[in-house]
Symmetry: C2
Amino acid sequence: MISGKQAKFIKSLQYKKYRKQEGAFVVEGKVSVLELLKSKLNVRNVYCTPAFSDEYNDRLSALTLKPDVVTEKDLVKVGSLKTNNAAIAVVDLPPDVQVIDKSRTVLVLDNINDPGNLGTIIRIADWYGIGQIVCSPDTTDAYSPKCIGATKGSFIRVSVTDISLPEFLNEYPNPVYGAMLSGKDVHEVKFSNPAALMIGNESHGIGSHLSEYITEPITIPKFGGAESLNAAIATAIICDVYRQS
Amino acid sequence: MISGKQAKFIKSLQYKKYRKQEGAFVVEGKVSVLELLKSKLNVRNVYCTPAFSDEYNDRLSALTLKPDVVTEKDLVKVGSLKTNNAAIAVVDLPPDVQVIDKSRTVLVLDNINDPGNLGTIIRIADWYGIGQIVCSPDTTDAYSPKCIGATKGSFIRVSVTDISLPEFLNEYPNPVYGAMLSGKDVHEVKFSNPAALMIGNESHGIGSHLSEYITEPITIPKFGGAESLNAAIATAIICDVYRQS
């Protein structure tokens, strides 16, 4: 059973304010929790169904703590998912200031608003082997349940750091490619490697205060009628072309 | 004001059963309704705020009907969006059986489950100038409010037809490229144009009963740790590579 106090605590972690205050976030569902168990993140608590406990007993026994076996109903009650017949974990937030390796490729996000988009972008970065993302401070929080869920477990392999982008870009020594409506056809760009790949807000693109840091504006050519592509879609295409160049 | 009867009718159109029964679907929000007003779709009713009515008076006056001016609160009450300070329209469903031009490129979707994914895929098809999509009958309905919203207006330019895929593929005369985990690197494929580009279910990929129709299985190469890419992301990369080949 999950006590009233525990339930209240887990639910509070749906809000950034309490995640910061408690230094913790929540991981929900089978795929995400199984990925979590492979990681070095510090797990504070695991609540799981008897079926999950039986099936993944070996992985769970590697933890220093004993999981609480609870009902599916309990998991749905305290979590953000509509269905969850597996598990919920409470995990220590990584430190605020993470080491960014400036000699490597980095994805730079300016004011991404939608947690589903950010989670999908983290998953894309992971697919393309880009292990570090820096975000403007007004980007949506990477540790919200919706964002963590959308990463499909990729949150364990990709570091996400909130930082002033002018400050970061000022010190980043490699070329910066920025996705813009009027830029060079991404397929014709001779990408440097490493590099920074920058994507902007869903509606407004990259903020004009960042223009001076962009070495080359890049564009995904359009063949039909849509006005724009979703930010995560644009990220994926740019990463794919970058990796092929 | 929206009468109780009208409200009940609009709300019922959130469900496929009633959309089929009434032959109508709902378009919500500024972007989508403005795109709708450019289309040849038959609009039955428009409910809009005074501000929307004033700003887009010229476009609204091209309709044969008079819009109902209502409050923002009314729009949110009868619609599916959390905020809507613009408009809701009730629109005739296009005919079930649409003409599929077999001499042209087509996107083929097998059992896409998530309405947000389907809407995003429609938007991607539109960006890449692919005007027709065929879907297996178990694909999520393209006229749900969530799917229509995710198309960002592209629903007016892309035809979506539910059809038995074996039946369709049997008669489609051009090569069929299917996204699979083990296929040829998409970047090394010599695509025919026109062609069918096929994407499968979010968890299980393309059904095995469709293998015999695939001319060439294709794969997006992975560089990192993520297990898979989202179906809409995979669609976008394949369309982009296809258009560049």
